[in-house]
Symmetry: C2
């Protein structure tokens, strides 16, 4: 049980945490900091017991656990406020999707006694904002907890327990490993989806409207992914820059080989497609998706 | 009402047509040609009234309409059989995803009196085979009917009516326009999904298993698309080669610019992501997808 919890940033992830924490009574008192006026209005309509704060100031000093659910580009400002106001040995976690660069940056500026155990719940959607908050967002999803050299067992345990209470399965890894894995499983797929939509909009066809009219043949699935929050994704791509550049290069190299296969090598193309199909079965076995066929959402 | 119908190839699409034709009593008599032993066994368990034929021979001569639901690489053989056995002025349609090259090729070899009105229902799934057949597969989906110079009104009307009876919305266009539109809305997205899965499997990470374990962050959606039938997609990529090469080049060009943005231009990156997000709303307005958020299939 947490005494006083502060959620910083109450969009999709923050509000989903808020709902679950209220439902499961995980904290005695909950503060929510949210700077968007629109989100503040939405939060006021929530029939939940929490205190909305509009400034990151002395209220912070009461809190025992702070969960940052804001874009990565806001972290510096948030830690400056925590440096100024938070109590000694405060425990902070976050939900950011990129780790190494931000941890290096924040470790340089944060007050030495502040304990920061970074985390990343693998949950989300193409929609954002508190109105889309969902108390079951973390249920049976992975939450990755980042081990740093100086991470102490006691704090690690507290953060692991927090995510378990929210319904997550938990796993620990270091920031370098995390950023590589999510560059390939999440960040590149999102960039590729954005790039595919971009390509669809600048490919010259006499009647442009037609392109989107017939998007059910594949494009629409990418458009969903490419409808994600732009600030969040700008920050992720930037913060995981070195891995992004590597995976983009590898992707282009592979695509150029595919192009050659399409030009000249029907046999090679077939055997590649056949092998790639098998990856799906592994993903289903790992319970990362259902085996239920998708005939299109209608 | 069709007198005698022949479905050539009874995988996902063929069996979905079969089910709907039986249900709506669209034909008096139905023949199904299927060469895979496994599919033949599955079809025998269907509690529907049709005759399974194992050779494309004299039985064809009875038919009034033939619907080809086989991979593009089988068309030549099928038309040779139709040339030999079908009655005069037989009407043939198909469900292939690529048009210009195959139409040119078949027009060269087919008997002059055979009427071929090519069509393409924009419906499917990552699964294949008759066991996945679904009588509602075409419901409210587009079916594209291809206009050729020599297409006659009477035959066009018959094929349009056929797809409407199956539940489709119909639209006509020429083969060149079709192949451009579907290169960008369907064929490139599928190739990109295959290429992303390939890149995920050859990106070096110390612990390889982890990659798929955490695929819920984006990769799994692509793995579904990359689980599609390899023969069908090999044939589509090959038959729409010239458009494929163009869209691949454009995709790589755009991706390289994205790479530069990630390296140097945070502001540009943000405004691009923001603009691309809007495409989603258009796709939803065009009823090509629902606006219901996707929190992952669990």
């Amino acid at each position: 049980m947490i005494n006083k919890l502060l959620i910083v940033g109450c969009g999709l992830i923050g509000s989903s945490i808020l709902k679950k924490v209220c439902k499961k009574k995980i904290a005695k008192k909950i503060f929510v900091f949210e700077k968007s006026k629109e989100n503040q209005r939405a939060l006021k309509r929530f029939k939940l017991k929490f205190e909305l704060i509009k400034r990151m100031d002395k209220k912070i000093s009461e809190c025992d656990l702070i969960v940052i659910c804001a874009p990565l580009s806001e972290y510096e400002k948030i830690f400056f406020a925590c440096n100024k106001y938070s109590k000694k040995n405060i425990l902070i976690t976050d939900v950011g999707s990129s780790k190494k660069d931000i941890i290096t940056k924040i470790n340089r500026i944060k007050r030495k006694d502040i304990k920061w155990i970074s985390s990343h719940p693998i949950a989300g959607s193409e929609v954002s904002g508190p109105l889309n908050g969902n108390e079951n967002l973390f249920l049976n999803k992975w939450s990755v907890i980042i081990k740093q050299k100086n991470s102490q067992n006691k704090e690690m345990k507290k953060i692991l327990k927090f995510w378990k209470l929210l319904g997550s399965k938990t796993v620990t890894m270091d920031a370098v490993q995390h950023d590589k894995i999510f560059a390939i499983t999440s960040h590149l797929p999102h960039l590729i989806a954005y790039n595919l939509i971009l390509t669809a909009t600048n490919f010259k066809i006499s009647n442009k409207d037609n392109v989107l009219r017939f998007s059910a043949g594949g494009l629409r699935d990418f458009s969903r992914i490419a409808a994600s929050n732009e600030i969040m994704w700008r920050d992720i791509f930037f913060n995981n820059k070195s891995n992004m550049l590597k995976v983009i290069d590898l992707f282009i190299k592979n695509l150029k080989i595919f192009k050659q296969d399409i030009k000249f090598n029907r046999k090679n193309l077939e055997s590649k497609l056949k092998n790639l199909k098998k990856v799906r079965q592994k993903i289903v076995l790992l319970k990362q998706d259902t085996s239920k066929p998708d005939f299109g959402r209608v």
